[in-house]
Symmetry: C2
């Protein structure tokens, strides 16, 4: 449902006009952690949104370098608000490490902590990047909700890291049981 990418774009355009390239860059530095997007989605979607009348594109080249900036139309703003108010789809999670852990009975017990450690390393990396964002981007009182989402990400991955650490310790000690 809802197609996702559509509202990622409309949402980002709230704050001003952007090129497809801009959208990609911003997504990679923010929503990527809970909603990714590729060029193969962005450019075609921008044209679809323009056809729908939800955005307008104006060509604003930089010298001889082509550049098309898109901005929300009133209809686009309305569509965005309607989506914001509609019930959201449930969370989708896909975690290969968890899948491995689930099937890890097929492995000698000593190799179990390694699987957990790999999972922890993954979240530690994300955590580091989120903290970087937190320091780089000074809190804008106008963007409470974006800060909230960032805090969620940090708490969330922090929880995972702690959980993994606890399991690693437990598995290392009580080897048998």
């Amino acid at each position: 449902m809802t197609t996702g990418i559509k509202f990622v774009i409309l949402g980002l355009l709230q704050k001003g006009s952007l090129s497809g390239y801009d959208v990609k860059r911003i997504v990679d530095g923010s929503t990527r952690f809970f909603w990714a997007a590729s060029y193969g989605q962005i450019y075609p979607e921008l044209r679809r949104l323009e056809a729908e009348g939800l955005v307008t594109g104006t060509s604003e080249p930089h010298g001889a370098r082509a550049r098309k900036l898109y901005r929300l139309t009133p209809a686009g703003r309305k569509a965005l608000r309607a989506w914001l108010r509609a019930p959201a789809a449930g969370m989708e999670l896909r975690n290969e490490a968890l899948l491995k852990l689930f099937f890890a009975d097929g492995l000698p017990r000593e190799e179990l902590p390694g699987v957990v450690a790999a999972m922890r390393a993954d979240s530690e990396e994300v955590l580091a990047r989120l903290r970087e964002i937190q320091e780089r981007v000074r809190p804008d009182p106008d963007e409470t909700s974006k800060g909230l989402v960032l805090e969620f990400g940090i708490g969330f991955h922090g929880w995972i890291v702690n959980w993994c650490r606890a399991q690693e310790a437990r598995l290392a000690k009580g080897g048998s049981k």
Copy 2:
């Protein structure tokens, strides 16, 4: 990479032979929370795995009802173990509620707690189902790692529920800031 569904099937077949229908049923009651699968993936994949020599299928009808049970071959067991030891891909998360929260500046402040509450409701539902599983399935000492994954899910969604509750309280009180 890795195609995922391939190892979901191989992993489930560790414990004995299963039909495609069985695989679907088990996935829907377990791995679905971190790795889903549909019939459209399962049946074709079973035939591919048989062609690869990783599973063997034997027709074992129940009366006049057709039924094909698959079991791991030694090569299948080996492929599974190799995958278990290989580094896992990072976590993929997709959460529409979080996306809405991210763009919620476009909404009057009073509507923000509602978005968080919807997110909480989602995790509460999952949590209830995970706890049900925990009670239904008595701990099998032979399947430590499956219990671990279940505990992860419960802790994980529990964390989300608590976070949402905290934010809801904060947003309700400190309305302006």
